[in-house]
Symmetry: C2
Subunit: 640 residues, 2 copies
């Protein structure tokens, strides 16, 4: 079995207008430069000839750590590569080349390349896979190398990385003398499939499968590792031991989404990749089981995932809005997982979640100006609350553990790669954006030109330009949020009902150059309700329009947002405001607000507060905290 | 100025029936023995001749700590003393005497008596007042000594303790060479006033005032202490430095209730005591300011106080139900504070809060069987939540830091001491219980016999037995929760409206032996509402009947308690159930429950859940988790 869909690579998608062009311009013009600037010490630390100030207890998450050195910089290089392809920039290319040179110089004779160990602890390579991030960092190096080669044709980093991976392939495996280990923090699994696809070398795919299938087997590799280190094995805080690492059981036997949310997303993305490449239906089934558990019980409406403590999945329907974790990287990891499942299973539900995460829990991670970042993306906020807790409720320039900023940069820069797929007889449109895409379908080249004001409007115009007239399907995603869609081809209506399945309207015909599609998706403001077992959301409603989830900000609605209730019958008005938050559709309504009774300051009394009229203004969740930071914010409004 | 009311001591109150007799019997028969048993290692550690197993890092909160050794055992001795007065018990008395002997043997030549320092670190006495608990432990020794002397007439512990306090009085003070310090954890302040009242020695009152007024002055004593210890000063997690200790500013300049909730209660109780004794109206004003802030903005409906992290007050209206702290000791400390304010200010609002805490947030701390204890008293509970957090949602046998169990035991054993006060021309009844009390009013002895089924019924019969007929006021508290009260004297109605002020109906007449009062307080089930700024309680309602706050338990109402909504118009039925939870009044109602829509498992959808009928059964909050532990529980129900 081959995978059912082939994603159209980002290199073949040109985003030249609309929402995502705006985001990509900011990403290129602001985000990439500031991230390089703020990573300077990490980049210089890659230079092994350069002495670093000694540290008392260098830790993998420190500036000099196994994580910090390589992976954050690698993600930045990957982002820069995506950007360079469409927008050549000699200064930026020089910065990247300098980093590539440092990695090449640092690489050991045998191919090994992790700067933390090379610098600090060369004798202890591969001794603490559970907690250190060697294989994780290797995964990000691989992704950077593939992207940079694709973008620029320069082989240097790819060669360095292939040398490193060949070394890893010697060290790990089933043969005598090889280690049976696997990473505490998955990532290399999906990266190895990328490298396999890019180089065609089957050993990379096989190594990915090895890491996946060794995971969680008994006797437990992490137990043996702890023993060798003379340490007590880590039993975790809840659930089965090593569930924090998705290593409590073999991955095929796991039934719920457990442990660190970013790790889980990366791991299962890699599993879906391997399943797609190998036709391993059992592995795909394992992915589907976890997917179902996430989207039916463990995902925020923003597409965010992961709770406190330990940035992990907790339990079914546990989705606290104020005390959540919801790391930006976790929403990104869910995008990766969704994107892989979409290719392997061809079902619009994956694209729905991918889109939900992208427009909400991912984009909220970066300021509109592109220079500040959220690590945690709460769904409710009372700023004083955070005086007493760890994370301050504001986007920040940088983080001690700075995984999110460059992860955002690379995803935004490569967003075109998530929008389209092809199969032998169909072209798929997953995301609606203003772009030209070139792909192959029915044995010949096809160009699609999409123009749209999505996500603010539900109308999409598509010019279909096959090389020659040919019969194939154009599969247009009808999003899960859309209850009424209509389309015309060359002005003539197409009955979508009969041709829509698994979330895609498949318009099959003999397409000829110059054919025009107009797709119209009704985009009313929707009241969204959570499953009644979500104890934090009962009696509450969230506003959503198209893929955009809304929130109330204090700056628009005053303090005490929980004193507001939205009647079920209140009319919801949507209006695009060009001058607000870079241009957003705002939702307004008449609502009700509790006020204290008379002049009494009683904390508790046997008469209910007085209810008075108010009006509310909701803005897209992703755009919050751009006018004022550290203010109240609320996604789930009280209804009534 | 003298204090306006004088509390009738516990020694003069005989509780011989009803609710509190039941609690006192369990306390005596079960709680005191199991606590002694579970404290055995701590008690044995008081024997300095006995070698303890060496510890790597002995810490004040460990078995061998400055807190653990003395204070928890002292509170148990105090509890045992209260019990012995009414119920002589030679075995129990022997256990107490053994402990007293150990303290006497341990006491240093100069009077010093803290077992942690005597054993572990004799050279470092008084060097870390901020974090260690020397003065706190001394306070509990004082309270134990006074109680034991009052109960048994035995002077040994009192002499030991007076020797210790005389030593403390040499070490601390304004004279040259004396330390200007004060305890990190207040407690000794109120204890010194107790000792002053018991011995009549003014230097004890003065020392208490010294500790109070030195607190928070600049240069900061804790800064100097840290410097001397070669450590960085503790800047705390939020607010001004040392606000965790109520030492950020002089106590008279503090305007909000900040820092550790138990510490605050003890400190301000001591301040109210000193203000009452000295007539220091400014100090009393400072107490009133903090009191007002607590009860108008920072107290749970159960009378619990204190949030996470650090067991501290956080900010106005921040009263999360599930992630709170609400330590049992903090509710007890609030009872102490309320009781002192009641004497100093003679206002029923203090008795209201005292009663609220007693019947709810205090009593919930101990199982009905008397053998297990809550440290934290959440107002909402989802048991899986706590798999991922520190405190398991069940009463436990004992704690690493076991301050709560013996604190409960001493309060329950001495509850009679909180019920009555006298002033020159009035006798005050604050709490309604079945008891006989002897007090002095209008220059002669008065005996009151109260009979009541309170808190389940609002009827109280009082026999008034003055030595001789005399004119004085009987001031009966009309609780804040009561909107309709009626009384008769010898069968004739008394118009209460005109004679009730500041929460007390003052029936002034020439009382003669054989006079009978019947007080009837209407006790409907009330819907209680929080101030609209309490973001966790908006749209919610709590049920209260008399002083009893109710909750729903999963064992009665099934899981997903937040899926239940109580309509504002639903009839609330109260019924006493003899066979349930030791006999409690249960509240029932018809309510509504959200159910998922059809067969869909969707986590989010644009149609609201289906609403179906349900019935609910609410039980007193204090009695929850006695049939099943680790189940859902909820105080604030959704309304609608």
């Amino acid at each position: 079995m081959t995978i059912s869909l082939t994603p159209v690579p980002w290199t073949d998608v040109d985003i030249h207008g609309g929402f995502w062009k705006q985001r990509q311009d900011v990403n290129r013009q602001v985000t990439l430069p500031v991230q390089h600037e703020r990573s300077r010490s990490r980049i210089e630390a890659l230079n092994l000839k350069r002495k670093l100030r000694p540290k008392k207890n260098p830790h993998p998450f420190d500036e000099g750590g196994a994580d910090g050195y390589d992976s954050d910089v690698a993600k930045w290089v990957e982002a820069a590569a995506y950007s360079l392809a469409g927008h050549p920039d000699r200064a930026l290319a020089r910065k990247v080349d300098r980093i590539v040179d440092l990695w090449a110089e640092a690489q050991a004779q045998d191919g090994y390349l992790n700067n933390y160990y090379l610098r600090r602890d060369p004798g202890r390579r591969w001794t603490d896979l559970q907690r250190q991030h060697e294989l994780y960092c290797a995964g990000h190096l691989i992704e950077a190398a593939v992207a940079y080669h694709q973008a620029t044709g320069k082989r240097k980093l790819l060669d360095v990385v292939c040398g490193y991976v060949d070394h890893i392939n010697d060290v790990f495996g089933p043969r005598p003398g090889q280690l049976r280990g696997y990473p505490g923090h998955p990532e290399i699994e999906l990266a190895l499939v990328k490298l396999y696809r890019h180089t065609g070398r089957p050993e990379y795919l096989k190594l990915s499968g090895f890491f996946i299938d060794k995971r969680g087997t008994k006797p437990h590799y992490f137990d043996r590792e702890s023993k060798a280190l003379g340490e007590a094995p880590d039993r975790g805080i809840a659930g089965e031991p090593y569930s924090q690492y998705q290593a409590h059981r073999p991955v095929r036997e796991q039934t719920t989404a457990d442990g660190h949310a970013v790790q889980l997303g990366y791991l299962f993305a890699g599993m879906a990749d391997v399943a797609g490449e190998t036709g391993d239906t059992e592995l795909l089934k394992a992915c589907k089981r976890i997917w179902k558990n996430i989207i039916e019980r463990r995902m925020y409406i923003t597409g965010g995932v992961g709770g406190r403590p330990m940035e992990r999945f907790t339990f079914d329907y546990d989705l606290p809005n104020e005390s959540a974790y919801v790391e930006t990287c976790a929403a990104i990891a869910l995008v990766f997982f969704a994107h892989r499942m979409l290719q392997a299973d061809g079902d619009g539900q994956y694209a729905d979640v991918m889109e939900r995460a992208l427009y909400n829990g991912v984009l909220s991670g970066v300021s509109l100006a592109g220079d500040q970042f959220f690590y945690a993306n709460y769904l409710a906020l009372c700023p004083e609350y955070y005086l007493f807790h760890h994370t301050r409720p504001r986007r920040r320039d940088w983080f001690h553990c700075a995984c999110c900023p460059s992860n955002l940069a690379r995803l935004i820069a490569s967003i075109g790669g998530y929008a389209f797929s092809s199969s032998p007889r169909a072209a798929f449109v997953h995301l609606y954006l203003t772009a030209s895409v070139e792909l192959e379908v029915a044995g010949q080249a096809l160009r699609l030109n999409l123009t749209t004001d999505y996500p603010w409007k539900g109308k999409v115009n598509i010019e279909v330009e096959p090389q020659r007239p040919a019969r194939f399907a154009l599969a247009l995603r009808i999003p899960g949020w859309c209850e009424r869609a209509a389309a015309t081809v060359n002005g003539k209506p197409v009955a979508l009902a009969g041709i829509t399945r698994k979330g895609y309207a498949r318009i099959v015909r003999r397409w000829a150059p110059g054919d025009r599609i107009e797709l119209n998706m009704a985009m009313p403001v929707e009241r969204m309700y959570a499953h009644p077992s979500v104890r934090n959301d009962t009696g509450r409603v969230a506003l959503q329009r198209g893929p955009i989830v809304y929130c109330l900000e204090e700056v628009d609605n005053g303090a005490d947002l929980n004193a507001i209730a939205l009647p079920r019958t209140a009319r919801l008005t949507a209006r695009f405001q060009d001058d607000l938050l870079g241009g957003v559709t705002v939702v307004s309504a008449r609502a009700r607000r509790l006020r204290k009774r008379g002049r009494t300051d009683a904390l508790y009394q046997n008469r209910p507060p007085v209810i008075g009229p108010t009006s509310i203004r909701a803005v897209p969740y992703y755009a919050w905290a751009n006018r004022k930071q550290e203010q109240e914010m609320l996604v789930w409004l009280r209804e009534g």
